[in-house]
């Protein structure tokens, strides 16, 4: 076992293979970008194939290879299940599943794991039943959890070698020019898929909306695509994009959002041309709303917003409060319409978004990011992956990427959820190291990371109750008591990669009490 710099014990086998986490900017690699095999397509040759089965066979997919998918279709995705079912029928085994994330809708992969079709997984997140199954130890090898930027880095550096990428596209032409903004099942940006398309050995576009050549705008260009398959449906539009992400009416979330907004507007970063990212959760969305009011009142305009984007942010673009949006992932109908119609709403790849190994990711230019947490500990480490029972049910996402990149990283969290404290001595799983987190905002007040003495000075007169993180923990524990440690087993079920590829934490199997 080797202890890393955030105090987590990493088994030697993984410590040697990946290295252990040292510091958020410890690694500054120089590397050759991975290059994929290319098979030329000559004039007159068609990329269209009749079925998913045909394309799997023609792609040369074999036992032991790696397949990838993207998660822009969220809970409406039909592509991953459709393709994996065909792969299983063909008797292909021992695959590595390298999906950018895995949703509840992907529950059928549990069966593929049991049957030996999937023996390795790397992903950003695992939800609900899939997460619970992994936590119970059904997969022989640990899942490798990567952030969005970390995944792009791993692909570019060759840590993940994708043999076949199956990329659902809301519209495509017969040569594979694809986008997410047109069609019947639109998802907006295709930021994660763009990385797969660029680096996978074989790229398959799966669409339910074949349009005449050339299909524009081009998110995934034809020169990265080997095959195109047309299916009846790539997914359920209702699960892919909500009509509009809703503002919360929960008074506690609103209070947290109001405090967070004050933290932003009273910070040294709130000035013309500032940049920010806020998620799609209730509180984060409310922060954007409060922020908007303050921007109007103080006549401050943002230079750019980065996302994960919602329609509300796009509305701010329309109103001239934000100059430009750069987007890897669109969360709702409003954002999808915006990316289609507004040239200042620009789609970027996950690598440009957050890859820490490339020549400069967009997160490096962020002033402020607003993030959520399942748990925060007294070292400001954040867990967004495992629940209070130790079971995997979250996603790393862009959490550690944006927290490292932004000048001001704000965590929104109530001090307890139900009967569970969220401010704790030690988080179950570290996704983002405390050194990346600047301010924790709760409904009772805020805690500023002591590493940020400049912010402590800047917020001296901030009209919000201020506490140390230990005081917030004590408040949480005084309400619900000190949590009992979780009983973990011996088996490592997930490796948590920091964005630079080092191991920041591991997740062990959870022992059931019943």
């Amino acid at each position: 076992m080797k202890e890393n710099k955030v105090g987590r014990m990493i088994p030697d086998v993984y410590a040697e293979k990946y290295g252990v986490f040292v510091d958020q900017f410890d690694r500054k690699p120089t590397y050759k970008r991975a290059s994929a095999d290319v098979t030329a397509v000559l004039p007159g040759e068609s990329k269209l194939r009749d079925s998913i089965k045909d394309v799997i066979i023609e792609s040369g997919l074999k036992d032991g290879m790696t397949v990838s998918f993207h998660h822009h279709f969220r809970e409406g995705d039909a592509v991953l299940n459709m393709v994996m079912a065909e792969i299983a029928k063909l008797g292909i085994k021992n695959l590595t599943l390298a999906s950018s994330s895995i949703a509840n809708v992907h529950e059928p992969i549990i069966e593929h794991i049991r049957n030996g079709v999937i023996t390795n997984i790397t992903s950003s997140g695992l939800r609900d039943k899939v997460g619970a199954a992994i936590s119970s130890g059904i997969l022989e090898n640990p899942v490798v959890i990567r952030s969005h930027g970390g995944r792009a880095r791993a692909i570019e550096m060759g840590d993940i070698e994708i043999d076949v990428a199956f990329l659902g596209a809301p519209s495509s032409d017969d040569y594979g020019n694809a986008n997410g903004s047109h069609g019947k099942a639109t998802c907006g940006a295709l930021g994660y898929a763009r990385v797969d398309a660029e680096f996978a050995k074989k790229v398959v576009i799966i669409t339910d909306n074949l349009v005449p050549y050339p299909n524009t705008p081009i998110s995934i260009p034809q020169n990265h695509v080997d095959y195109v398959v047309v299916v009846d449906s790539i997914g359920d539009p209702n699960g892919i994009a909500k009509g509009a992400t809703r503002f919360t009416s929960n008074p506690k979330e609103l209070l947290i959002a109001e405090y967070a907004s004050k933290v932003i507007t009273e910070s040294p970063y709130f000035k013309n041309g500032f940049s920010f990212q806020a998620g799609s959760g209730g509180s984060a969305l409310a922060v954007a709303r409060f922020l908007k009011d303050e921007m109007i009142a103080k006549e401050v305009k943002a230079g750019f917003a980065l996302g994960g984007l919602t329609g509300h942010m796009c509305q701010m673009l329309e109103e001239g409060l934000i100059d430009t949006i750069i987007d890897t992932q669109s969360f709702d109908r409003g954002a999808i319409e915006s990316i289609k119609n507004n040239e200042k709403h620009y789609e970027i790849s996950a690598s440009m978004y957050a890859n820490p190994g490339n020549k400069g990711a967009a997160v490096n230019k962020l002033d402020v990011v607003v993030l959520s947490a399942l748990e925060v500990d007294t070292n400001f480490n954040v867990n967004v992956m495992t629940g209070s029972d130790g079971v995997i049910r979250g996603a790393s996402g862009g959490h550690c990427d944006t927290a490292a990149g932004a000048k001001l990283s704000i965590i929104l969290s109530p001090i307890v959820r139900g009967r569970i404290p969220t401010i704790v001595d030690n988080v179950n799983t570290i996704i983002t190291p405390g050194q990346s987190i600047d301010v924790v905002v709760t409904e009772v007040g805020i805690a500023i990371n002591p590493l940020r003495q400049d912010l402590i000075e800047a917020f001296k007169n901030l009209n919000i109750p201020q506490f140390t993180i230990e005081e917030l923990r004590d408040k949480a524990y005084s309400i619900v008591g000190t949590p009992e440690p979780i009983k973990y087993g011996e088996k490592v079920v997930a490796l948590i990669e920091y964005r630079d590829g080092s191991i920041i934490d591991v997740v062990n199997n959870v022992q059931r009490n019943d």
Binding site: P251, K252, L255, E443, V444, N461, I479
Partner: protein, 298 residues
């Protein structure tokens, strides 16, 4: 010093999460309701929840009030539990006469005696919710030394009056009741708190109604959702001009005291007791609104 009661937030006592978070939203007073908002089968558990909450959580300076049930329907048990928990104020449901107050007062005294709490430390807030109570408002307001305030509960009142609420017509139907209650309260030297405005999604009418009850002389308004608190508090925020004037009045008093002069004047006008009281209240309201009137910084 007199306590501000700009907002009195109603919370059902059956909800543990709400009990825990009650004082976060900036209400001057919190009223845990054991009566109408709690179903019959949850009465006992809610009483226990409030008891534990009051003993466990630190509500800071927020005034904690508990609305009890009718004495014949669990109110006695409510009082005993709340007095033991150390609650600030017991609120009576539908007070019709001075006798109603006396009956509750007797149980409070019994409870204070039994648990060794200082006699008289538990205060009473009355609520007028029917025409008889409106007509008896002054005798109710003056019926006990424990009474610190009187509220109007308009929903029951309008039903008894065979009418309904007409917020779109400035709630003229409760104008008489409001006037009686604010007069009774002022005459008795206690607080007057207005009724709830039940549409949480109509901040404009809430603001208009609050401006009106402020004009009538009420101390504040009952609210049913934290989102209503900033709206009501904003109405009660004194204007910059009022604050400046109040600061000048207090400065003039301090200066006169320093000079040993009994005659206090400001801009050629005499400052008398009501002007001083008004100035002090304006400054209290300004402090509560987060305005630095004492030169201490934020």
């Amino acid at each position: 010093m007199e306590r501000l009661r700009r907002t009195m937030m109603f919370l059902p006592a059956s909800n543990p999460g709400m009990l825990r978070d009650a004082n976060l939203y900036g209400a001057d007073s919190i009223m845990f309701d054991l009566e109408d908002s709690v179903s019959l089968k949850e009465k006992d558990s809610s009483r226990f929840l409030v008891y534990q909450a009051v003993k466990t959580f630190d509500y800071g300076d927020t005034e904690i009030i508990v609305r009890i049930n009718d004495l014949a329907q669990g109110g006695r048990d409510d009082i005993h539990a709340m007095v033991r928990a150390g609650i600030d104020v017991i609120r009576l449901p539908k007070t019709e006469s001075a006798e109603d107050v006396h009956a509750v007062e007797a149980v409070i005294l019994e409870a204070e005696t039994q648990c060794g709490r200082e006699i008289g430390s538990t205060k009473i807030f009355t609520a007028i919710e029917g025409p008889l109570g409106v007509l008896n408002a002054y005798s109710i307001a003056t019926s006990s030394q424990r009474i610190i305030g009187m509220a109007i509960g308009a929903e029951d009142y309008v039903t008894s009056m065979k009418t309904r609420r007409y917020p779109e017509r400035a709630s003229e139907e409760i104008f008489f009741a409001r006037s009686m209650i604010v007069h009774a309260a002022r005459a008795a030297g206690i607080a007057a708190v207005d009724t709830v405005f039940s549409d949480v999604n109509d901040p404009e009418t809430l603001e208009r109604e609050t401006e009106f009850i402020k004009q009538l002389g009420f101390d504040g308004k009952s609210v049913i959702n934290p989102r209503q608190i900033p709206i009501v508090n904003k109405v009660f925020r004194p204007s910059d001009k009022e604050i400046k004037n109040a600061m000048d009045v207090i400065a003039a008093i301090n200066e006169a005291e320093a000079r040993g002069s009994g005659v206090i004047a400001l801009n050629g006008k005499m400052i008398d007791k009501p002007i001083v009281e008004r100035a002090e209240r304006v400054l209290m309201l300004a402090r509560a609104a987060g305005i630095d009137v004492d030169g201490k910084g934020k």
